[in-house]
């Protein structure tokens, strides 16, 4: 098991009522190993009640990165929502607390 924070960087932001989370792995080796584990459905279940809609994953092998779109995750868009993290700024830190089943 590896902590994602030991093998990757992450940043998140809002797109309407949705959040995107980018995960950049520290090496191609970890990117290749993680790609079969860090699936859309795994990420969807990890975020639990934080994500009401679907999760779609995009691959950026040139950056050893994955981009996740988390639909319906802000209880309304930027200015309508009442939640404190209205722009999904903290989702990147949340994904880094994940543990994934990969070895060196």
């Amino acid at each position: 098991m590896k902590k994602l924070s030991d093998i990757a960087y992450a940043r998140s932001g809002d797109k309407g009522a949705n959040v995107n989370v980018g995960v950049v792995f520290i090496s191609k080796d970890y990117y290749d190993k993680a790609i079969s584990k860090l699936t859309s459905s795994f990420v969807k279940s990890y975020f639990g009640t934080m994500v009401k809609g679907d999760v779609i994953r995009y691959e950026l092998p040139n950056l050893n990165a994955l981009n996740f779109m988390l639909y319906d995750s802000l209880e309304g868009g930027g200015s309508e929502t009442l939640i404190n993290d209205a722009q999904g700024k903290t989702f990147g830190q949340a994904i880094l607390m994940m543990e994934i089943d990969i070895d060196d």
Partner: protein, 448 residues
């Protein structure tokens, strides 16, 4: 090979006010770009303009910036491209001309107009332009009588034209954020509309630097590795005629530029990486390579682009009711229990007088409010902030809500504080409606 240095000194209205001045003085830059507009900013400006049609509706910070740095801007031969014009670039220009006169310096200020379609919107709708919400597919008729602003994200060639006419400062309204960087490349390198790879490359450069310090160590996962965050360097893109570019920052500044600070920002607010659509080009974000070529220098090569779409994106904002959020700090033994009890009391009291809201929220800041079940629950919660909010189309009941927080200090559980700021404010909710419009009906114009 010919190259230009383009900096970004403002990622949003409210960003560090010293950053543009430092870039002007120490950045050795050719162009300074400043991004003042978020989606909601346009609606605020449109309302300022309604109150004061002569003088309201642009980014006033920009005028102060030019006033304090005008000599260095001229001496260092720096051109400025800013979307500071908002919905009233004429008023912004007028103020800048006063400053130009005061300092006895001849500033050429161009306005790029054509983005603001607020006054034409009803005619466009009559002419069968649909303005369907591209996120929800809803029909515009549902918001028609409550629209605050409507602006088209115009292309970068219009801005390049202003530079070719000799402008020192180009004032835009709504232009795509990366377009602030694409425009000087088009002008300097003579790129044509079908130089898709080059336009795409400059668009990536613009995307990387458009949020200021977010590519130079700001909001960075490995923040503990950074030095001198109090003097963080704002970004510079050194772009070559062939489209390849370096991302860097001024010497003797804090922060960091490496593959990861840049990659994090490339992914920021990104959707499908193969279909990044700008008004100028469609960019493939999976096409290019990053390389650390020197200390605090990342070189980007191989960006691929393709033909743009035949529509512009339109950003429409509209009135969507009222909201208010307030908070109380709850301390001491059983802090969380007391906070939960306090929330229960407030909601019960509002229910007792028959108030029903469209939306409510109850959060306990300090305890998993951001990360829910992902965060580990601490053994001892010694204090917590109760944050509570409502939204309604009815302003009166939102106002009534704001009066229910303070009484908890004397009439609720013990150890509650943090109400020095008075009752929470009632805010208008300005919602955002993204749509598309046929490029053929939008005419941009440069006024010098």
């Amino acid at each position: 090979m010919k190259n230009i240095r383009v900096a970004n000194g403002q990622g949003f209205w409210g960003d560090c006010i010293e950053a543009p001045a430092k870039l002007i003085k120490y950045g050795k830059i050719d162009y300074l770009t400043l991004d003042y507009l978020a989606e909601v900013t346009m609606s605020i400006m449109q309302r300022q303009k309604k109150k004061d049609p002569e003088n309201g509706g642009y980014a006033t910070d920009f005028v102060a910036l030019v006033d304090s740095n005008i000599n260095e801007i001229i001496n260092n031969n720096i051109k400025i491209i800013a979307n500071a014009g908002g919905v009233n670039p004429y008023a912004c220009k007028r103020e800048l001309m006063k400053i130009s006169k005061k300092h006895n310096i001849d500033l050429k200020i161009a306005i790029v107009e054509g983005d603001d379609i607020y006054n034409d919107l009803h005619n466009l709708i009559k002419d069968n332009h649909k303005f369907k919400n591209i996120d929800t597919n809803e029909n515009i008729s549902s918001i028609l009588n409550k629209i605050y602003s409507a602006n088209v994200y115009i292309d970068s060639f219009s801005v390049a034209k202003a530079l070719s006419l000799g402008a020192d400062i180009v004032l835009c309204g709504r232009i795509s954020d990366p377009g602030l960087v694409v425009a000087p490349c088009i002008y300097e390198f003579g790129w044509e509309k079908d130089n898709f790879n080059m336009l795409a490359s400059a668009t990536v450069a613009g995307h990387i630097i458009e949020c200021g310090a977010q590519c130079t160590g700001g909001n960075f996962t490995k923040w503990k590795d950074l030095k001198d965050m109090d003097n963080i360097g704002y970004p510079i893109a050194q772009i070559r005629e062939d489209g390849t570019f370096d991302i860097t920052k001024p010497e003797n500044t804090g922060g960091l530029v490496n593959k990861f600070t840049v990659s994090e920002q490339i992914l920021y607010e990104l959707g499908d990486p193969k279909k990044y659509i700008s008004p100028d080009v469609c960019v493939d974000f999976t096409s290019f390579n990053l390389e650390e070529t020197s200390k605090d220098v990342v070189t980007v090569t191989g960006v691929k682009g393709d033909m743009p779409t035949d529509t512009y994106k339109v950003s429409i904002s509209y009135f969507d009711g009222f909201k208010s959020s307030g908070q109380l700090t709850i301390s001491g033994p059983d802090a969380l229990l007391k906070a939960k009890k306090s929330a229960e009391i407030i909601w019960k009291k509002l229910e007792n007088i028959g108030l029903v809201f469209d939306k409510t929220s109850t959060e306990f800041l300090g305890l998993s409010s951001c990360h829910k079940s992902i965060a580990k629950t601490p053994n001892i919660i010694n204090e917590v902030v109760l944050r509570i909010g409502v939204k309604s189309q009815n302003k009166n009941i939102v106002e009534r809500f704001t009066k229910e927080l303070a009484p908890l200090i004397t009439a609720g559980p013990p150890g509650i504080t943090g109400f020095a700021g008075g009752r929470p404010k009632v805010k208008e909710v300005v919602a955002y409606w993204p749509a598309l419009i046929d490029k053929k009906v939008i005419q941009t114009k440069v006024i010098l």
